[in-house]
Symmetry: C2
C-alpha cells in the first residue's frame, strides 16, 4: 500500500466536508461568524508518550483526547482535526485499520471530523501529530492569565490515575483495570469545558501534573496559589495504592497524563460551574485558593506545607520514558 | 534544557499575537470576516525527507516552504503556523538555535508567525510537523477539481532541480550549487499564488512529481491531460545534466520536491496569470492542455507518446529514502 492507497482506504472515509475527501492540498474551513478559532497541536512518540505495543484503537482515541483536552480547557467546542502519521515501513496493515477504527470512534464521541494531514514512513518509532481546531465566542477563550486573588481553584475528575497505571505497568504497584483505562484511553468532557467561558477566570488542562499546571496559571496571572493536599480528588483504587505505599502520594499532584481541567473562578462562578458540572456528568472539586505572591504551596489539613516531590511531567527528562 | 526552557528560549520569541507567547494550551485566531481558512499539514522525517546532517536553518526554511507551497497552490495568503518538533535527547543546542534562526528567516520572508505547537523527545529520527494556516475569500479556494476540457496547463518555475540535486548528492550525476539550493531551501512565491483565485480552474502544488500531480487534478476533475515534454521548463544546469545522460530526463516530470504550482486555466485567464506572474517575478510556462477522458499523456514535439518512467514520489517506496 502506498501513501495514496492508505489514505483512500483508511482515512478518506473519516473526512468531513472541510476535508474535501482528503483529495486536495489543504483543508478549507468557513469559520462561523463571531467566533474565534482555537488551535492546539501535540506530538505523540512511541517509546516516549505511549508503548509501541499499545492497542492502536485506544492510542488513536487518546491522541484525539489529548488535543480535545486542550480545547476543552480553553472553553472551545471541538470542530475538526488534522492527522500527521509517521509509520515504520513494515507496519502491519491491521494496526492501521484498528488505528482508523479508534479515530472513527473518537470522532463520533467528540463530534469532530478529519479534515487533512499527512502520512509518511519513518526509520524510527511511530509518531503521531494531531492538530485540533475548535471555536469559542469571539474574545471568549479562557486563558491561563486571568486568575485573581481570592479566586477558588477547582479540578475536574480524579487525579493520578494514569500515572499510577504507568507505575503498575512497570510492576511498581498494583495494576487496576480502571486506572489502566484512564492511562490508555482518557476521555474528555468537552461539553463541560464549553461552560467555562465567561465563568472561569483562568484554566489549563492537567497534562504535566496538577501542581505544574497550576504553576503555569499562577505565572501567567502574576499570583500565587495554596492547594489543599487532602482535598485532591482521588479514585478508590488510586487511594488503595497510596494507602499501601504513601511514598506514591506525590503522583497525585505531580503525575502526568491526567487530561483533566484545572480552573480558577470566583466563589460565585464556582458554584454555577459546579451545578453545570453536575448537569454534564462531571465531578468538580474545590482544591484551593489563589493568593497574592507567586508559586504554589501544597498544604495538608493542618496548614503544614507538603513536600511536592517529583516535578511535573517533563518531556526531556528520562523519568517518563516508557520503553 | 527541558521542554519549557527550550520553548522560552528559542520559540516564544517567534510567536505572534495569536500564539499568546506560546504560554497557553492553544492558539486563538480571530478569523477576518468573509474569509475561509485554508489549513495544510506536513510531516518531515530525517532519513526520509531530509538528511540528518542537513543544515538546520535551511531545513527549518524548507519545512515552512513545503507547507506554504500547499497554501500558495490553493490561492491562500499565509497567516501563521504551528510547529511540532520531536528531537533526540542528545540533540545539540546549537542545532536548535540554528533551526529557530531558519524559522525566523522564513517567517519574515513569508510574513507569517508561529502560534503554537509541541516539542518532545524521540528515540528515533528528528521529526518535524508543520501545520500552516492561510486565508482566501469565502468560497475562493482554488481546488483540484475544476479543470475543464480545453483549459491550458501551466507550471511555475523550473522542474526537476531538487530531484537532480538529490541524485547529485548520491554521486549519480554532477552536483550543481543552484540545484542543491532548490533542494535544501525551496522558496515559494505566495503572492503569485494568491493571484490564482478566480482565474485558475484547478491547481496543485508540485511535490510528488509533475505528472503525478497533474494526475491528481485530472482524477479530481474527471478529465484527461496532454503534456508536452519539450515545453517543460528546465533550468540551465538541469538541462546540462540531461544532455549528458538522457536517461535522467524522467526526473523532470517525475521527480519530487519541486514545490512549484501546476494549474489549469482558460487561455484567456492564462494570459492574465502570465502577466501577473511577470509582475510578481514568477516564471510561468504553458505545458499542455486538458482533454476529455482520463489520465495524463506525455508527448514529444511530434505528438509521440513519451515513456513517463519512474512514478512520482511515493513516501512508502524505498526509492526516495535518503540515508
Amino acid at each position: 500500500l502506498d501513501e495514496f492507497d492508505l489514505i483512500a482506504r483508511y482515512f478518506s472515509p473519516l473526512a468531513g466536508r472541510s476535508g474535501l475527501g482528503l483529495l486536495d492540498d489543504a483543508a478549507c474551513i468557513t469559520p462561523p461568524t463571531g467566533k474565534d478559532m482555537v488551535v492546539s497541536k501535540d506530538m505523540l512518540v512511541a517509546g516516549i508518550h505511549f508503548f509501541p505495543d499499545d492497542k492502536p484503537a485506544s492510542l488513536a482515541f487518546k491522541a484525539l483526547s489529548v488535543n480535545i483536552s486542550d480545547l476543552a480547557a480553553k472553553g472551545a467546542r471541538p470542530h475538526s482535526y488534522l492527522l500527521g502519521l509517521s509509520l515504520p515501513e513494515d507496519m502491519d496493515q491491521i494496526w492501521i485499520e484498528q488505528f482508523a477504527d479508534g479515530l472513527a470512534e473518537a470522532q463520533k464521541y467528540y463530534n469532530i471530523e478529519l479534515i487533512g494531514g499527512d502520512t509518511t514512513s519513518t526509520l524510527g518509532p511511530i509518531t503521531i501529530s494531531v492538530t485540533a481546531i475548535g471555536y469559542v465566542e469571539q474574545g471568549g477563550m479562557v486563558r491561563r492569565n486571568g486568575a485573581c486573588i481570592d479566586d477558588r481553584i477547582y479540578v475536574t475528575g480524579t487525579l493520578g490515575d494514569a500515572a499510577l497505571a504507568l507505575l503498575g505497568i512497570r510492576g511498581e504497584c498494583k495494576l487496576y483495570e480502571d486506572l489502566l483505562e484512564c492511562y490508555h484511553r482518557p476521555v474528555v468532557n468537552s461539553v463541560f469545558g464549553q461552560g467555562l467561558c465567561g465563568r472561569a477566570s483562568a484554566s489549563a488542562d492537567v497534562s504535566d501534573g496538577l501542581i505544574a499546571d497550576i504553576h503555569h496559571i499562577c505565572k501567567a496571572s502574576g499570583v500565587g496559589a495554596v492547594v489543599n493536599a487532602s482535598a485532591l480528588p482521588v479514585s478508590a483504587n488510586a487511594a488503595r495504592i497510596i494507602k499501601r505505599d504513601s511514598k506514591l502520594a506525590p503522583l497525585i499532584w505531580s503525575g502526568g497524563d491526567d487530561y483533566k481541567i484545572v480552573f480558577t473562578a470566583s466563589a460565585e462562578n464556582g458554584c454555577h460551574l459546579k451545578r453545570f458540572a453536575k448537569q454534564t456528568g462531571v465531578k468538580v472539586t474545590e482544591i484551593g485558593k489563589i493568593v497574592a505572591g507567586a508559586g504554589v504551596d501544597l498544604v495538608d489539613f493542618s496548614g503544614q506545607q507538603v513536600q511536592i516531590g517529583t516535578e511535573g511531567f517533563m518531556h526531556f527528562s528520562k523519568g517518563r520514558r516508557q520503553s
